[in-house]
């Protein structure tokens, strides 16, 4: 029998208390530039794929090992992570971020992740071999569940919201973009509120 509810989470800013790419950019002295680029992308000023390719290029001089060390230190929302661990068969992380960068984080979160794929050569990042279509990822998950709850904050979460049955705009790390708020059923700015809500949606 199919499980009742699936929960699809964005990663950066939704499960992490910081955006991951600006943190990596610090390592190469480009933190502010990366933040500006990330904000512009979140707001939909730049198309995600182009922006992400550019951001990966900027960060490609960091060795994979070092990047993974940095990403492993990113703080996660504790209550939300607990919720996911307690319901790991119903929870999915859907992120445009790279598999090789977020693998350490995903071990901590402990649920299936749908990520972009990196092209690597030894310990070096060469580029992005596969981008994900977040809407398509939700469509696939939907087949096995009665309803799908989406939790996100940025422009690239819009395709997920279009597929979701219950849509939650989360503003814990930064305010959710306006477009997402206008599509949302619920808006909350704190993981405590979010988790109370998620508990009632199980």
């Amino acid at each position: 029998m199919p499980l009742e509810t699936a929960f699809c989470f964005d990663l950066d800013g939704t499960l992490t208390k910081q955006e991951i790419l600006p943190l990596l950019a610090k390592e190469v002295g480009l933190a502010e530039e990366m933040s500006a680029l990330t904000m512009a992308t979140m707001q939909g000023v730049l198309p995600f794929q182009q922006s992400f390719r550019l951001r990966v290029r900027l960060l490609s001089e960091i060795s994979l090992k070092r990047a993974q060390e940095i990403v492993a230190t990113v703080p996660l929302y504790a209550l939300t992570s607990d919720f996911i661990r307690a319901h790991s068969k119903q929870c999915f992380v859907i992120t445009g971020n790279l598999d090789v960068w977020v693998s350490g984080l995903m071990e901590r979160i402990a649920c299936p992740a749908i990520t972009a794929k990196a092209e690597i050569e030894g310990d070096c990042l060469r580029g992005v071999s596969h981008f994900i279509d977040k809407g398509e990822a939700v469509r696939k998950i939907k087949k096995d569940f009665e309803k799908v709850v989406i939790i996100g904050d940025g422009m690239n979460d819009v395709p997920m919201f279009e597929q979701g049955d219950v849509k939650i705009a989360f503003g814990g790390t930064h305010p959710p973009i306006d477009t997402l708020i206008k599509m949302a059923d619920y808006v909350t700015y704190h993981e405590r509120g979010l988790c109370c809500l998620l508990d009632t949606l199980l």
Partner: protein
């Protein structure tokens, strides 16, 4: 043990009869927004949901400062839907009883605290107040202190006051008033409150006169 874990404040409407270009829940009274008094009452309740519609950004930005973990429930159709639709939006997935609170109420604090202390966990009740509004929904109360009927015409000394602890799945998505939906669970225990509902400029003037007697310590809720 808390008598309930979920609370819903309906704050989506225009408040057209009050004639201020602001959601009613943000109207200033005694130096604070109306909703600040309600949030003060609900500070121990873990799940507080605010239904927003008219000028939703203003309500969200205000409430976030006072209650950072509030959940906002959007009712973009607020201009053409009923209060019961708003409550339904906020409660449709709930599996436990929840408190409903109209966003235009000023409640005597000690009355609410009594409920928090004395009521059994998740026991259903409906709030009434002594009849004083211009268009009351009269409540018939029997000798066991249960409400047996609501009516616009059968005058009694009591009226429905916009507060209730209701079981899940009672309030439907429709164009009815909340009290019409509550008829499904009558007879139900009555709880008496001193409440000022702010619908009209006259209501606002009366509530302003009484605010200092309602037991709120204004400094602590700013």
């Amino acid at each position: 043990m808390l008598p309930f874990r979920h609370a819903i404040i309906s704050a989506a409407g225009f408040g057209s009869r009050l004639g201020m270009n602001s959601p009613k829940c943000l109207v200033q009274i005694g130096g604070y927004a109306l909703i600040d008094y309600q949030l003060d009452l609900l500070q121990d309740i873990p799940d507080v949901r605010i239904v927003v519609g008219f000028k939703e950004e203003d309500v969200i930005n205000h409430v976030r400062q006072k209650r950072p973990d509030a959940v906002f429930v959007r009712n973009p159709q607020f201009h053409c839907t009923s209060n019961s639709h708003s409550v339904w939006l906020a409660s449709r997935h709930m599996k436990e009883p929840f408190l409903i609170l109209d966003g235009d109420l000023l409640i005597k604090k000690s009355d609410f605290q009594t409920i928090m202390i004395t009521e059994q966990s998740n026991k259903t009740w409906i709030g009434i107040t002594s009849c004083k509004s211009e268009e009351p929904v009269y409540a018939t109360v029997n000798e066991k202190n249960q409400i047996t009927n609501f009516s616009f015409t059968d005058a009694t000394a009591w009226e429905w006051c916009g507060i209730a602890l209701v079981p899940p799945n009672i309030i439907g998505s429709n164009q009815k008033y909340v009290f019409e939906e509550l008829k499904k669970i009558l007879p139900t225990a009555a709880e008496k409150f001193t409440v000022y509902e702010i619908d009209t400029p006259r209501d606002y003037a009366i509530a302003s006169d009484h605010i200092s007697n309602l037991g709120y310590s204004l400094g602590s809720i700013g």
